[in-house]
């Protein structure tokens, strides 16, 4: 799984929208799209302890990304279903396409760990993984071991990569960008929030996800390498060892699910990413007429009813 990368993706997607969608895609939709897969699956991955008993998935990796399990929450198929639901409910293209882009970013990024995602579900339940780093959520190790493994492996590099992608388009974090490109796409939500918060507060809310990403990256890395005192193979260490090799770190078990050969994963992932952008581009204008008709129909119903 990826950690802060998912926070940075939200801004990376926002900064790299197709030209005709700039200022028209809901930032909240991108956020919820990107977070929905883990909203649905992550809680039970780590589980919780109550009265000395652990409640949670017995095989976290199977639950999180596999089938049977909640692996469906990390499939483009599920994202498409949710988007169809949003469209059927609201006829709002800013939210539908925003959710799709955010969701796709999450699903496609998660092919990097050793479990990967079921990219072609429901046609295939095989997982697609690049095995860049080891998936490390376990019943015994919980969140701490997962974080330590991620921030000792190429996962940390992945977070940094997305961090620099956002920094490369730093204007996405500026007040001017927020006022001219983000607020107009979601005027009602920002206006509603503006009842309580002034511009400084609203801007902090917009930047909050990036802030959280940066801080969690620094905090977990610092803890894993400067504070923690793990015992690995019977040896007490000062901090978890770094291992920036492929499939690292060496000190966690490299778990996998039935998967396709890693060589085809990167090209297929890039094709799917291009496909999502192509589809979003292609249906964007058509959705406008749908939105207009839905608004007109709603106004008629309000007047008559």
């Amino acid at each position: 799984m990826s950690w802060a990368a998912h926070q940075f993706e939200v801004y990376a997607v926002q900064a790299h929208l197709p030209k005709k969608m700039v200022g028209k895609i809901s930032w909240f939709a991108i956020f919820f799209g990107d977070f929905t897969p883990d909203f649905l699956a992550k809680f039970w991955v780590y589980g919780f302890n109550y009265n000395g008993h652990h409640y949670g998935a017995s095989k976290p990796y199977q639950w999180h990304r596999g089938w049977p399990g909640m692996g469906i929450s990390h499939t483009l198929f599920f994202g498409t279903l949710v988007c169809l639901g949003i469209w059927a409910w609201k006829h709002n293209r800013a939210w539908t396409i925003g959710f799709l882009l955010g969701f796709a970013a999450h699903v496609l990024t998660d092919v990097n760990d050793s479990i990967g995602t079921m990219l072609l579900f429901p046609f295939s339940t095989l997982n697609w993984s690049l095995h860049t780093w080891a998936y490390a959520a376990t019943v015994k190790g919980g969140k701490y071991l997962d974080a330590a493994a991620y921030y000792s492996s190429l996962g940390a590099v992945m977070d940094l990569f997305w961090f620099f992608v956002v920094l490369g388009s730093w204007r996405v974090l500026s007040k001017e960008f927020w006022r001219t490109k983000v607020v107009p796409a979601d005027p009602h939500v920002w206006s509603w929030l503006g009842q309580w918060l002034d511009d400084r507060g609203l801007l902090a809310l917009y930047r909050g996800v990036f802030f959280y990403g940066v801080c969690r990256m620094i905090a977990w890395t610092t803890w894993a390498h400067l504070v923690a005192k793990p015992v690995i193979d019977g040896v007490k260490r000062n901090g978890y060892p770094w291992d920036l090799s492929w499939t690292g770190p060496w000190w966690v078990q490299h778990v996998t699910l039935p998967h396709v050969t890693p060589w085809v994963v990167l090209p297929v992932t890039l094709v799917l990413l291009a496909g999502v952008y192509f589809v979003a581009n292609a249906i964007w204008e058509r959705m406008e007429s749908g939105s207009t008709r839905a608004i007109a129909w709603r106004n008629v119903r309000r007047k008559t009813g």
């Binding site: 007040k175 400084r200 507060g201 609203l202 902090a204 996800v209 802030f211 969690r216 905090a219 504070v227």
Partner: protein, 106 residues
Amino acid sequence: MSEPPRPAPPPLPGSPTNQAAPNGAEPTASKRFTPKRFTAANYIDFFLYASAAITYVSLSIYNKWLLDWIVGPFWLVAWVWGLPALYKLIRRRPIRPERGPVGDPE
């Protein structure tokens, strides 16, 4: 019939004032970018964001329950908006914004 020229919209608060040449021509390369003026408000903002990050990271290293997707953004809002609001409250000034819909320049 050509449409009469419209007056330029008022600049956003804090945005550069030198946008275009008065006769409507493109600004020259040297005038295209005006460095942002560092006002007291900018310094206060910088201080608030930096202190929010330092406090959050420092505390969350030892209290990892703070590293949560709700607590993180909330921390920033509480710090950047909440501290000035608290200051206003102490000085008995209104906290809630007095304005129209968000996004209006004024």
